[in-house]
Each structure stands twice: as structure tokens, then as C-alpha cells.
Subunit: 667 residues, 2 copies
Amino acid sequence: MTTLYPPLPETKAPPSGIIIERVQPEIDGGRYPIKRVMGDVLQVSADIFKDSHDKIAAVLQYRRRSDPDWQEAEMHLVENDRWTGQFLLPDNTRYVYTIAAFPDRWATWSDEVGKKHTAGQDVALELVEGRLILEEALDRAVSADREVLEAGIAIAAGTASQAAKVQYLLGDEVALAMQRARSRAGEAHYATELEVVVDRPAARFAAWYEFFPRSAGTDPTRSATFAEAARRLPAIAAMGFDVAYLTPIHPIGTAFRKGKNNTLNLEPDDPGVPYAIGSEDGGHDAIEPGLGTLEDFQRFVATAASLGMEVALDVALQASPDHPWAKEHPEWFSVRPDGTIRYAENPPKKYQDIYPINFDTPAWRELWQELRRILVFWVEQGVKTFRVDNPHTKSMAFWEWVIASVQAEHPDVIFLSEAFTRPKVMKLLAKAGFTQSYTYFTWRNFKRELEEYFIELTQSEMKEYYRGNLFPNTHDILPFILQEGGRPAFKMRFALAATLSSVYGIYSSYELCENTPVPGREEYLNSEKYEYKVWDWDRPGNIIPYITQVNAMRREHPALQFYDNLHFYPSDDEHITCYGKATEDGSDRVVMVVNLDPFDTHETWLHLPVDEWGFPAGQPFQVEDLLTGEIHLWHEEQHMRLDPQDEPARFYAVRPITRVSYVEGCG
Amino acid sequence: MTTLYPPLPETKAPPSGIIIERVQPEIDGGRYPIKRVMGDVLQVSADIFKDSHDKIAAVLQYRRRSDPDWQEAEMHLVENDRWTGQFLLPDNTRYVYTIAAFPDRWATWSDEVGKKHTAGQDVALELVEGRLILEEALDRAVSADREVLEAGIAIAAGTASQAAKVQYLLGDEVALAMQRARSRAGEAHYATELEVVVDRPAARFAAWYEFFPRSAGTDPTRSATFAEAARRLPAIAAMGFDVAYLTPIHPIGTAFRKGKNNTLNLEPDDPGVPYAIGSEDGGHDAIEPGLGTLEDFQRFVATAASLGMEVALDVALQASPDHPWAKEHPEWFSVRPDGTIRYAENPPKKYQDIYPINFDTPAWRELWQELRRILVFWVEQGVKTFRVDNPHTKSMAFWEWVIASVQAEHPDVIFLSEAFTRPKVMKLLAKAGFTQSYTYFTWRNFKRELEEYFIELTQSEMKEYYRGNLFPNTHDILPFILQEGGRPAFKMRFALAATLSSVYGIYSSYELCENTPVPGREEYLNSEKYEYKVWDWDRPGNIIPYITQVNAMRREHPALQFYDNLHFYPSDDEHITCYGKATEDGSDRVVMVVNLDPFDTHETWLHLPVDEWGFPAGQPFQVEDLLTGEIHLWHEEQHMRLDPQDEPARFYAVRPITRVSYVEGCG
């Protein structure tokens, strides 16, 4: 029963009249953490105000989540009761932050006395009050501050003129000493401790390359081994990729194994789908024998590391009917009335080769611990990045727990959420802890839909917790734009992925512009999912040099290494999008112009915000074409023509024109 | 110390995969209640979804705050995981509401079986599963539902064809019976109970008339009595006002009493400012002797009631130096180092005749209780509405407590916040409990600023908790627009106040277009605050008939009695604003067109959303001029000319044209 008569508050002192609200960043009232990267400075703002006309002060309080003690940073009033403060996030760990505010008696007194003295009023009594405030603060003052306050007390009590007393007491020296020695009486606290996950830099800036290791060899009749796949790594590194992401490497089941092109007509040599995990050779902590041994895998990881790359694994939490779990832990699956384990379905589609895990099982504790054990097992093999398959069909509470739990011991582990589902579910996975997320980029082809979506991703609240890892293709998705648009589309979509976000990836064969579909579907014909493949990596028409050049550009230009610094600029043509990124200090600035139509040439006027960039008004500025190295002079209103057969996208480093003083001679 | 290793949840069952978030309406995470009026239907919406592909159901739970048991209303999916539900608020009390959601096993099963059966797949095993779900639900089913489920069980187990079984089990009859008998296993609850304050109708719809009772007589040398002031009430009622709001009626202090026009040159007969409350005749629970006795006041209240009006009192929580509190409770004030009580100041201005209360006093509990006692004292004299003077200079926590506490016993009491201060402080007072609030309307004169402000007031989150009571003037404020714009401005600003909001007020002499200022200031010359006044209520040029007509229109048109149903329509001229209000069913619709320039005639084209109104496209519709009674035919694009000397504002009842079928004859 709630009481009908609100009791008086139980505190001894009356409730603080200070309000702290609308803190930003804050996700869902603090229910979920925000995300940042090591070295970032976290800006926090809030509405902070007090009833009455008293002046207040506010501090941002923060600590590593594992530390008991708060540190503090002063907050400052911006305008309209909005305050802001900031602190550095040096380490790869979780921090918490909150806000405290309290009446600033000295500021209130100073404001009052200043106004009265200016109006020629007698302030004798106010000077007594001021002295009392200084005396109360004296014990908290240290070293030089103590002398400043003692001098103030002596002057206030002395025989100097009121003007002289006011001049000293309202001076900056006393104000600063009092800020350090001030009373915290009447302090109010924001009710919530907010969390920020601070990731390593690769969480925000990385280029991913996905491939099937079994298809990285030269013999189409058998699986390539890790040793053979490792020979692909130098080429991948040379293109400028940071992450070599492997589809599942575990033993593949034989029960209901799928044949080529997802058929049921299995031929004896068909290798099966790597996502049908588990056989008599083991489950999620085992290696498919065709690829080699755990030691082979460790050598593969070491080779990648020697090339400056890391290896990401695919985490598909499901089992083939041959998985050891199916025998040892049938309670982790759904059992039907006839005693069979329920296989995966998306009616009317049936996936008899895959058993989904039942996260509602009464044995959920053992299940969760086992899944965590598997993740930590691979972390211990040197894998610090996981791409998680279909996380939205698993338990959201599990992800929140397991990611926090793994990162508590291994804060450098990165989780990418492979969910293509309803927008709110995709957002929730990111809030629950996924470091990065797949996006709808894959299907955002036209100007308005593309710009709207990227404004949401990078300028709305989403930027605080959702890092879009852009894939123009995946092993499951060959979008129609690539099927129909051919090589110009492959270049155009690559340019977008690599510059709209700081983190992106491609699925191998993209560099070859491979686009033969299952007719009428967004799927690859003769997909590697169902068969061994051998690729000619020098195939004519490949865009390997282009990819290499764009990745090099990303590494050279820090502006391209941030996520939420994306801004679109008006372009008159409906096919040409224009956008830019810059470092916070403006020292690096890059502008992209992309023709989204892979078929036809378009031209447009661009309208560039040179004012915002701080360039001199009415003057040209310099741009460097990052593909050709050519220098051009541009104006605020700039004409542009893009032929997709030539270059569908242009990348420009932008800088104010350099003026040479001929008085001093020119070099 | 927080743990670095998140422990597994402690529940026996695995955590529910159901998410309930972004509930609306909800103010600051449920920290503050929303507001509604008796008889309203509260619409609640939320994002509700589940990991996996299970179907879910959701219910809105609600109860009077004083009731222990929840009632439930079914919620329905709108789109994109957004659900909505509603419930009626019949009573003048506080309600709480929240949301529960749970897996809907039968809906999940039905969806799966429907798809498989349609695809021609065998569903024998699914039919067994369906029977098990029905059997589990059977014990919860009552009367006819039980028979429906028993029939379903028999059919599922029987020898009918799969098609026949599917047809029966997927039918509406079983679906409805299962909705009533469904399992609530796996139920998730929204973490917060949200509150709604349900006020009596006058909280949203009322016209206020403010006056100084001491100036309501015929003798300028003395205070009018309540008996004399009561003779003004029929005229006020005849103009159509609902609330007679009196400036403070308590004894006025003599110490530092202010003379005419706020001077210090006091003459012996100067009556003092009614806001300097308290003398040897008593304090906030006493009556100024010049006005009469408590019995006289009670008779005044009764006279108002007999005319269909209520009396509102001014609550100014401050004391004259002669207030009994100054002697009996000096601890409720701030005492300075010289032993004097601190008087009110707004440096360099000094108000020696007023002591502000110190809400930070250690004796705050006794103080709060005494202030509450005073409010309840006046409630017991029949006063159900308080206009609170300068609430922002008092304790916010006090207001939150005292309003809830008074309304717990007297839910029909209305509090109006007279705060003209920073926007966030004004909003917080409304969140903390004030039923209505003053607004910046008084200074929003031009089209863009006016429309922007009213869109914020009535279409943003503010509509949930902030009811703007619009005053074009107050005893403290004679805005420049009225000083300069004269009679046309008085009509124009009145028209806006009476139709932009459902609740508004004027300060007396407005009907006389009194606008003599203290030169250069927004204050009345020879203000009633400092002297007795006698008014000629028949003064030439008065707008009493206009006010009477507009108030009658407000009572006749329910569209004008709602607050958040305001919509602006495009008008080409920068001086002419056009807006409309309608009842939810569209049966009453009123459109206003106002020339905001009191000096010159302007003309414009209006662009009216006849589609949204559901009127036939391309056809004229009928409008009735509510000032003249004339009928016109209008089109979607309508021309309009407004001469402020004639009528600065037009009010139209809008309806589709009536078609008469001549076949049946016309009457």
C-alpha cells in the first residue's frame, strides 16, 4: 500500500534545492553504458540549477569502475542552466561518471556585494558576512590559499575603505582560493552512476577482410589448410586490412549436410556448411580437421600478427545434430513431444542440419558458463575479436552478461553483432554490449535514404553506443546494386563503406568484383558456404589497387579514423552525395563526392560550409585529389562531374590556401 | 566496491528476453507525474519486443494510487515494435500505470502452424504440441472458453484431417479463448510505476479574472469591503469568468510600508502593498480588517459560488516585519550578523517591507507544516484554487511535498505557479506539481515567436505536465504591446489568450483597456498595488461585450476546452497567424485568424488542411463567423483581410457543407 499522505523527507537537513537532470551522454536513464575509445576525452553536460537566486558550482565525478574513489573535474555553465565538463579516458576498461553540485556561498556573496557597491550602497554588514564565509573556509585552505584567505579576513576586519575591501575580496585571487577551499554543504548528487565502456582503438578504426580459410588454397577438391590460408595473409595485409575474419573453423556435422547451392543432393565430397558446427571431431572449441590442428591455428594467428593484423572468429551459437552437446546436453535444446530435438526453422523453411540452443532451458546457468568458457578458450589462443552470428535469436540477457564478463578479464575483446533484423532489436544488442554492429548500409543505395540513415547512425543518440561496421557484401548477401552495377558499383560501395564509417569490412571476392547471383536472389551462385573454391586473385578487372589506395588514405588521414564526425553537404544532383570528416581541431579535413548511380555520369553543384571550416570568406581554397595527387582550387560553390566508369567517388584533402609573403621571398 | 566479474542473475528462471522501453507518456524516467483531467482516456505506448522470434502479448496495468490491485487493458502492436493501450481516468485522484508483457505461446504456435500448413507441410507433431498448450491452459479457462478449449483438445487428438484440425485450432474462437486463458509464464515488467495526477475539469478549462478587492468599491479614500467587492461579482460572472482571483487579503504590515507608485514618501492614508503580509492583526490565516472578517470572506465565497464562480487566493509566502512569525519564529528567516532579519533584495533593489522565508532553516519541518496548515485553512473556507506568488524563490522540494500532501486530502485543489523566470525552472515547478503555470505568452507578440512557443507548449513533452494559463496582463505587467497598441491590441491579445489555451486570465481594468504606464516601464502608473482605486466600469471604449462574446464562444465550443489540440496553419502574411482546435472526433472545429499587428490592416492567403479534416477534396466548406453569425463558403486556399480597428481576430466554426437530397425534398 502506498501512503496517501506523503510524509516529510526523513533527512535532517532540508532537501537540497539543486536539480541535476538531462545528463548527456546517458542511454535509457543509465540502464546501458555508452562507448568510447582509449584516449578520448568524455564531454558530459547537464541541466543544473537551484531554486532561489543562489549561485552554484558543479563537478563531474568519475572513476575506473574498479576504483573506489572518485576523481573530480570542474563543470562550467554554458547557458540557460546547461553545464558542461570533461575528463580523459586513458585506459581500456570501464569507467563510471556522475555529477555533484552545491551552493557556492562565496560566488553568491560576491555577486551581491558587487552589485550593491557599484550602486553606491553601504556594504558594511555584507563585509562582515563575507569575513565569516572566509573564516569558515580557512581550515580547508592549504598553502598559499590559506595566506590569501587570511589576508582577506584581515582586510575585511581592518580599517581600509569599503572600496579597498571590496576590491580585494572580489579579486580573482580570493575567488580562486575560495574555489579550492569552498564548502560542499548542501551538495546534491545525480541519482545515477553512468557507465562508459572504453575500448581499444580497433573498436572504432579498422578494416575487416572476411574469408573462408578452406577456400584460400589451390586445390578445389579439398579444404585448404591453415598453413595454406596463411599464405593469403600477406596479400590481405598489403591491401591495408587490419582484421582477418574467418568463417567458422570448427568440425562440420554430417547429419542432414547441405550440398552445393544449399541443395539436399549431397555428393560424397561436399564439405558442408561451416555454420553446422560439431561432429565426432568436437564442437565449438575444436578445429575442423581439414584445416589442421589447434597448433596450426596458433601459427596462423602468429603469421597474421607478424603482418600487423589480428584474426577474428565467427561465433555461431548453434549445433549440428552431430555436436557433442546434442548427446551430452540435450537439455540445452528444445525437445519435442516425440523426443526429437527441435531443429532450426523459419517456416516454411527447415534447417535440419542445425539445432538452435534453447536459452530458456532450466539448465541455463551451466549453458551460459559453457558458452563463456568457449569464448575465453579462443581469447587464450590469441583471438581478440568475435563476429557473432545472428545474436538476435539468442538471449539478450546472455549477451549483456557474457560480454561484460569476458571484458572484465579481457577488456581488449571486441564483439561485432551480425544482426539484420528490426531496428530496435539491432539497437538493443548494441546497448547490451556489442562493440560494433552490422547495419542497413548494405541496402541503402540512394541519396536520401543513405544520408538519413547515416545522420541517424552518427549524429543521433545512436552514436553513443552503436558503431556501425559497414559491409557492402557478406557471404550471405550479394546486394542487387553489386549484381547490376558491376565494377563501378563495387568501387562506389567500397568508397562509401570505407569513408562513411571508420570501421568497415568486405567479404573476399569483393576485390574481384565477383557478382554472379542465384538468379533473382541476393545470394552468391556456387557459394563458398557449400563447397570448396579456388580463386584467381589476379583476375582481370579486380579492384585490388583501388582498395589498397583507399585503405592507405584511411591510415594517412586521422579525419577518417573517427566515427561521429560525419557531415553531409548539399549537392544539387539527386545522384551525387557529398560529405566530409575532420579531426576536432580541423587540422585534417577530407571531403568525399560520390556518384551513387553506377550506370550514368552526373554533374552537380556542391555547396560547401567554408564558414564552419574557418576558411576566409569569398576566397578559393585548396583541395588535393587523394586518388591522383592533383591539386585544385575550389570555391564554396563548386561544380563537379563524376563518370562511374572513370571514378565513381572522389576523395579530397581540403585546406585553406597557403599565402606566401613575397616580402620575405618565396621558396 | 563493484565487482569486476558480473555474477550470473540470481533468478531461478533465465532472465526474460522481453524488453519494455521508451514508455510514453513518461516524464524524466517517471520521476514526475503527468497530468490529465477527469474523464480523459490515457493513451500509453511503448517499445515492446523479445529476443528470438516468439510472439508476445502486452497489457497496460493501472490502478488508483490508493488501490492495492492492478486493473489491466490489452495493448496492441501498432508497427515497428511499438505497442499502445489505453484506460479511462474517471476520478479526481492520482493513478499509477505500468506495463507487463509475456510470451504468447499460442500465437507463436498458430503463426508457425499456419505457415507450414499453407506450404503443404505435415504438421502432425505440431498438432500434438498445440494440444499440449491447450491442456496447460485449460485450468485457467472459465465457462464457455473452457468448452472451446476442450473441443480443441478433442479435435487435435481425434481422427479429423489435418486441414480440419488446423482450421478449428487457428480459428478466432480458440484465439479469443486462449487470450483469456493464456499463461503468464515468462512475464516481464516495466521497472517503473508511472503516475498521473487527474485533476478536476477547471484545471484545464477556466477563465480567470484577477482583482484587488479593496479597489472594488466606490470610495477612493478607504478599502472596499468584501460586501462591496461581492457587488462586482455579478458583472464578472456576466462576462463569462469562472474564477475570481483576489490579490492577498491578509493584514498588511506598516514597517517600511511603500507609498503610491512604490515610493518611500508614505502618506498617512496609504494602504500599503497587499504582498507585505502580516501585522498585529495577524498573518497568512487572517483577514485585512479593512476588507472585513472571516465571515465576510465566507459570504463573498458563497456569493461567487451562487454565480457559478469560484474564488482563488494569492499565496505569497513572505512576511512583513510586523508579521507574527517575525517575533514568534525568527528561526524561519535569515538572521544577519547584526541580529536583524534579512529583508528581500534583488541588488541593488531593496524591499525592506518584506522578509523572505528561509527554506534552508534547521526548523524546516515546523515551517513546512505551518505553511501546509495555512493552505488547508483556506481550503476549509471554500477556496479550492491558489495562485502562488514567485514559487521559484522558494524550495522546490517543499512545493512537491505540499501540493501532493494537500491534494491527498483535497484532490480538487488547483495550484497556479506565478513564475516568470528561466525556462527550466518554470518547467520544474510544473513537474513538481503545479496544476497550471504562467507563461512567456505575455511577451510573445510576433508570429514566429508566438507559433514556436505554442508548438512547444502544446505539442512537445511539455503538454504532459505544463498547462499554460495565459495572462495578457497582470497587476505587475502592462506589456508594451498593450501600451502602444491600445484597444485593438487589447482585443487581439485577449483573443489569443482565450483561444490559444483553454485556460487564461486577465487582470481587472483590462476590459477598460487601461494602459497608462510608468513611462518606459511595463508597469501601471498609479498601480492598485500601492493605493485604493475606484473604477468606472462603463468607461467608453471598454471591451466588455467583446470579452463576454468570446467567453460565451469558449463555453459553446468544446474544441476550445482542450489544451493540446492546437494546430497552426500556414498563412502567407507575416502578421497574420491562423490556428485551429477540434474535438478528438472532429464534431466541433474552430479556426482562428488573428492580425498580430495592432496598427495596420493586413491580408493573406490561408492554406487549410481540409484533407486532415476529412472534408471532400476540391469542394468548398462552410464557416460561421462566431462574432457576427454570418455564414461563408471557404476553400482550402482562402483569402482573408483583417483591419485591427474593426476586428483584429476572427473566429470561425468550420464544418463540411451540408448536402440536401432534393429527391427526399428539402425542409
